[in-house]
Structure formats: C-alpha cells, structure tokens
C-alpha cells in the first residue's frame, strides 16, 4: 500500500498562522485539513460592555491587512442599530477609503504573495532579481493605494479617522486632486497588472461553486447591498444568520461557515466578479474579455486576474469619486445611543465580512458577532485541495506541496482575521 502525506507545517505568504495536512492512499485523497492555529483573541467576548463608538477602532485590530473592512462593517452595523444613514459625500469618502484598501491589499497579495508561486520563486524579493520592473511597479501601485488610506483614514494600518456617523475630519478638494494625479498613473499600472497576471500559467482546474457576494442596484459592491448567490440566495443582510451557520471543528481555531442545508460556499473577488460583472465600467468589461476572463470564471487559480481587474476598478472608482467630490460641511452626522440590534456586511478584499451588534439604551455592546471572509472560505479551500490533489497526484512531493500552497493562496487567506485560521501536510499511503 502506498501512503503519502503532504504537509506544510507553517504556510508562508499568508497573513497569520496556519498549516495544511493532506493524506493520500493509493492515489486517492482520504483526508484534507486546513489547520488554523492562530491563537484565539476573543474579540466578540471583550467587545461586550464597550461603547458603540469604540467598535471601529477595536475591531480594526482583528486584521492589520484589512482594517478598513472591519471599520466599515462595524460602522454600518452600528448605524443600522441606531437608525442613522450616512449619505452624500461622506458615503463617497467611505467608498474612496475602501478603494485604497482594495488596491493596497490586492496588490500586496497578487504581486508579493501569489505571483512568485506562478513563476517559481520563494518570494517577491527573489523574483525582483529577474522581474525588477514588475516588482517595482507593484510596490508603486500598492503605495498609491496606501496613500488613499492615509489621506482619508489618517494612517495605512489601523486608520484613526473613521467613526460611527462619518469621520473626525474630511479632506478638502485640493488634497484629493493631488491624489487624483497619482491615481491616473495607478490606473495605467493596474492595466499592466491585468495583462501581466493574465499571461501567467494556470493549472486546469474548474469547480462548480456557490458564489456569495453583495449586490447593489447601482454599483460594484463595497459597503452595501443584498447578499446573493448564483444558486438562489437573495437576502437582506439581517437574514445572514438564518441562511449561514458556523461549525466548530477540532483542527481549527477558526469557525467553519456553511450555507444551511447546502454546505460550502465561495466569497471574495471571484464571487463578486461573477455576480456583479454587469456593474463594472464597459472598458473594464472589455479588458476582461480581451484577457480571457469571461464570467463565470470557475478556476480559482485565475483569482489573481480578477484581483487585478478589481484593482483597476478601484483606481477607476477612486478617480470618479475624486472628480465629483465636494467637501461636506460636517464630517459626521448626528448619532445618539439607543437600544437595538444592527447588521453590517461589507466586501473586504477577501470577501464578505459580517458584523452584528446588540446595544443597550446607553450604546454599550451587549452582544457581538463577527464572521470574517476566510472562515467562510475555509471549507471551500479544503474541497479544492481534495479535488486538486487527486488530479495532480502524479507530481513529486515537493512540487505537489508547493501547488497545494498555491491553491490555498488563491483565496488570499487572512488567518489573523479568521480567528475566529495555515501548515501543508500531504500524507500518501
């Protein structure tokens, strides 16, 4: 009998701590475990008794890679609980801030963490010796994304300017126009990124997924919309917990999410793109067609192309917001505490991020629920590995191990977040 174990004790180029264990018996996969050993930090527990005003700053600390996502989901949940709507230019500024995070996070992942897999380098720094322009342009594009976050948010990691009801201070038109000049360059760099990533070699691998993303009547989704899927989900976000469930498994400190009565689902760039392609500007649709990314894209390895298209969209959208911007008179709308429950669900770079809070009459948090994108993808990642290893079982162990890591990185897993999430370990029998 021929048993083979592929294991990666500490998965690299992902954010946070996790591993992977795959057991193969006579070329059949018999077990796949995505192990998450990121130590639990208990955010939902210590949020109890904190003020609603503190949630954006505290929950940002769940993830240093996508703090804006945590701030956005928390402010929307609080505003819904408190019966407040933030519209006009303040809403646009939130969207602009999110554009910055999408650019920064997508470029970090696509160029620095994922491309080295496709080209066979251990990291972007080694890759830079052969592809110096690619890496330099990537760093420049990422920097411009960070500059958006810094201007609107105050700093790139854990922004200080976001509050329930709006901002502490809003930028003036001139500051945004200066950023606009850089974004014109960024848009060009993002177009190059789309063409470059579309030319990478992709393993043949397509699966029948249930994609879940926000959908908004007028725009490619960031902060608002209904939750929809390609297989019948169409709900208000307040129905999230009636539709999705979390399971606690022994090998992970992250909870696994499923669609009740159905099972695994897929969130993130591929899901957004496949469900919202019609909301992209026509020139970006045309470029997607030109580079062969026609929806539905069912090969998760091509997520890097979609991430690049979304980066281009974020540059386009940021420019649109900047050109139309008129500085609002007040940086924040009036917010008063009251008892109630609110839901927030926004599109983090890696997929939907759900928050739910119940507040008392003084605005103190009685109960908090936070479901990050990576824990929602965890079961889908395991399924992918299951099918991928069977197909690629003839590869030598070192090659197979690397491709398994690459398959996990398709999802840009953010393990720090999923704590509430990697080692690859392939065992052959």
């Amino acid at each position: 009998m021929n048993t083979r174990t592929i294991k990666v004790d500490y998965l690299a180029r992902v954010e946070g701590e996790g591993g992977l264990h795959v057991k193969v018996k006579n070329d059949r996969v018999v077990d796949v475990k995505l192990k998450i050993f990121e130590p639990p930090r208990f955010f939902e527990a210590f949020l109890r008794g904190r003020s609603f005003t503190e949630a954006p700053d505290i929950t940002a600390r769940i993830c240093g890679i996508c703090p804006v996502a945590y701030q956005m989901s928390s402010v929307h949940a609080m505003e819904r609980a408190l019966g407040v709507t933030v519209g006009g230019q303040l809403r646009e500024l939130r969207r602009l801030l999110y554009c910055g995070e999408w650019i920064e996070s997508h470029v970090l992942h696509a160029y620095m963490l994922h491309t080295p897999d496709f080209l066979g380098y251990p990291d972007a720094i080694q890759m830079a010796k052969v592809y110096p322009e690619v890496v330099k342009n990537g760093l420049l594009l990422k920097k411009i994304g960070n500059e958006i976050v810094t201007l609107v948010g105050g700093r790139e990691i854990h922004p200080i300017n976001v509050r329930v009801g709006g901002f502490y201070k809003v930028p003036n038109k001139r500051q945004l126009l200066e950023l606009g000049e850089k974004l014109t360059l960024a848009r060009k760099l993002a177009e190059d990124m789309v063409r470059f990533t579309a030319g990478l070699p992709f393993p043949e691998f397509e699966q029948d997924y249930e994609f879940v993303a926000l959908r908004h009547p007028n725009e490619y989704p960031y902060n608002e919309g209904r939750l929809v899927s390609n297989k019948g989900v169409d709900i208000d976000i307040s129905d999230y917990e009636n539709t999705f469930a979390e399971e606690h498994v022994a090998h992970s400190t992250a909870l696994h999410s499923v669609i009740k009565g159905k099972g695994s689902y897929f969130v993130g760039p591929l899901a957004r793109f496949n469900l919202n392609f019609d909301k992209l500007p026509t020139d970006i649709q045309a470029l997607a067609h030109e580079v062969g990314a026609k929806p539905p894209v069912l090969n998760p390895f091509k997520s890097i192309v979609v991430r690049s298209l979304e980066t281009l969209y974020a540059c386009h959208e940021a420019l649109r917001i900047i050109e139309a911007y008129e500085m609002p008179e007040q940086p924040v709308v009036d917010v008063r505490p009251r008892a109630g429950t609110g839901w927030g669900c926004t599109e983090a770079p890696r997929g939907i991020l759900y928050h739910r809070y119940t507040l008392d009459a003084n605005g103190l948090i009685l109960d908090a629920k936070i479901i990050p994108p990576t824990s929602q993808n965890q079961k889908t990642i395991e399924n992918d590995l299951w099918h991928f290893v069977e197909r690629a079982a003839d590869l030598p162990d070192d090659r197979l191990t690397w491709q398994c890591e690459q398959a996990v990185r398709n999802y840009d897993p953010c393990i720090s977040c999923s704590v509430h999430f990697l080692k690859v370990n392939i065992e052959r029998e």
Partner: protein, 264 residues
C-alpha cells in the same frame, strides 16, 4: 564593522493582527534596499524559504497567550543576538489582554461552541515577561519609519533614535492646536508615548493611547482633568483599557476608577 556575511533577519509572530510586520512590507520605497542590505532568513508572511538560525536580529510581533507560545519564545531568544519587540501586543499584551481583567473561560464559552478544542492561557502577556528583550518599539501599529530606524540601528551597532517623550511634544512640533485646551476634547496625549506623529489631534480627535504610556506619566492628573471635562468613571476605565490595557501605568489608572471606594 567588517562582516563576512549579510546580517540575518527573522520576523516572528505570536497573538496579533499581523499589522506590525506588514509595516515592513508597507515600506514600499525602502523594501528592496533593506532586502539588499540584509538576509531575510525567516519571514513567513513574505517568503516560503527558511534559513536556519542563529539570527542577528529577531523582530517579534504579538503577545504570549498559549502554553506552546510560552515555550516557543525561549527558543527564539536562544537563536537571536538582538531581540526587538514590535507593537503593542508584544510590548504590553495588546487588545487581547482585556481578558486579564476577566475570567478567560467565560470568553472561550462566549466565542466557541466546543471550548474543549481551545487551548489558551489565562492572561495575554508581553514578550518581556518571558525573556530578555533588547528593545521595545511601541505602537498599534508601529510607525514604519521608526521600524526602519530600529533595524538600521541594530544592523549598524548603535542605539535606535526613537524619542520617549509624550504625544504632546509631537503636537507642538506639528503645530496642532491642543484639542483638550481649545475644544475640551478628552485626550490621552499627555501620558502617551510619542511615535505616531500626533495623528489623532491633527484629525480633530483626542489621542486614544495606541502607543502606550510614556516614561513616568502623570495619569492621575490627567484622569482628574478628564473628570472636569465631564467624562464618566466607566468611560475613563475604557479609555485606559484599550490596546495597551495591561501596560502598568494604564492598568493601574483604570483600576482607580473602577475601585468600589472611588468617589467621583
């Protein structure tokens, strides 16, 4: 100092959000130059290649919260010439140290359906509670320019130049009008370690202390000022209990306002 090899850098993670080590990748203008001057020997967030120790400089992010991590940090200390902690988790226990004020078992039950699967310590503690630390860089997150300064200092055999005064000094340097004096906005700036460049007051909000206490802060006097501004005792407790809740000065001041004999 002549070297026969590039100095080896390792980056280690404990309980944290990854933001402080991400600061290194956020040095877009400096990253390739830094990578040229050193050998990145262990940095799993950035590379899958691993070079064996010992290491010249180890950057440690995150706090100690599991029995396994309490062991692991000793191995890292043994294999490191200089050990530098980066960020509020590693230097003060982080936001996850809020468990230190409660019963951690109630926290496990609040988050996880099967608490038996979870292995955690009662307290989240800073690295210096476990091993000797050569230098502590503050911030939630750290300031990336200070991070480059610290790396550069240790690689060149000198002390890092990171001022230990309060955020107030940075406001003056920046020309920001005092938000507490001019607008009556409660601000932790007078007791908070510099390093952020006094960001929050420049955005019309009070400092919320993410760089932790400065050396010998007068937290008692600041607490009284906050009371005069009409801040309630529970709000003062919460203000001192955030990202550096378990740093001595902030912890003690928060306990004053929570004490049953406190007369507010």
């Amino acid at each position: 100092m002549p070297r026969d090899h590039k100095p080896k850098l390792a980056v280690w993670k404990f309980a944290s959000c990854d933001g402080c080590q991400l600061s290194l990748l956020d040095c877009e203008d400096e990253l390739l130059a830094v990578a040229g001057a050193i050998e990145i020997a262990y940095f799993p967030e950035a590379t899958r290649s691993v070079v064996r120790g010992p290491y010249d400089v180890s950057l440690v992010e995150g706090s100690i919260t599991t029995p396994h991590d309490a062991e692991r940090i000793h191995q890292i200390r043994k294999s490191s010439k200089f050990l530098v902690t980066i960020g509020a988790c590693a230097t003060a226990g982080g936001i996850q140290a809020l468990r230190n004020f409660k019963d951690v078992n109630s926290y496990v039950k609040a988050v996880y359906a099967t608490p038996a699967y979870i292995e955690t310590l009662e307290k989240s503690t800073p690295i210096a509670d476990h091993v000797f630390v050569d230098f502590q860089l503050r911030g939630c997150p750290v300031n990336k320019y200070q991070l480059v300064e610290v790396l550069s200092a240790y690689l060149n055999g000198r002390k890092p130049n990171t001022p230990s005064y309060s955020v107030c000094v940075e406001c003056k340097q920046r020309g920001t009008v005092c938000v507490m004096v001019a607008h009556g906005t409660p601000c932790l700036g007078p007791v908070t370690h510099a390093g952020c460049g006094a960001l929050c007051p420049a955005y019309n909000r009070g400092c919320y202390g993410c760089f932790g206490p400065m050396e010998t802060p007068n937290t008692a006097a600041l607490g009284e000022w906050w009371r005069k501004l009409g801040v309630s005792a529970p709000d003062i407790v919460r203000a001192f209990r955030s990202f550096n809740a378990y740093a001595d000065a902030f912890r003690k001041e928060s306990e004053v306002y929570e004490h049953p004999n406190y007369q507010g």
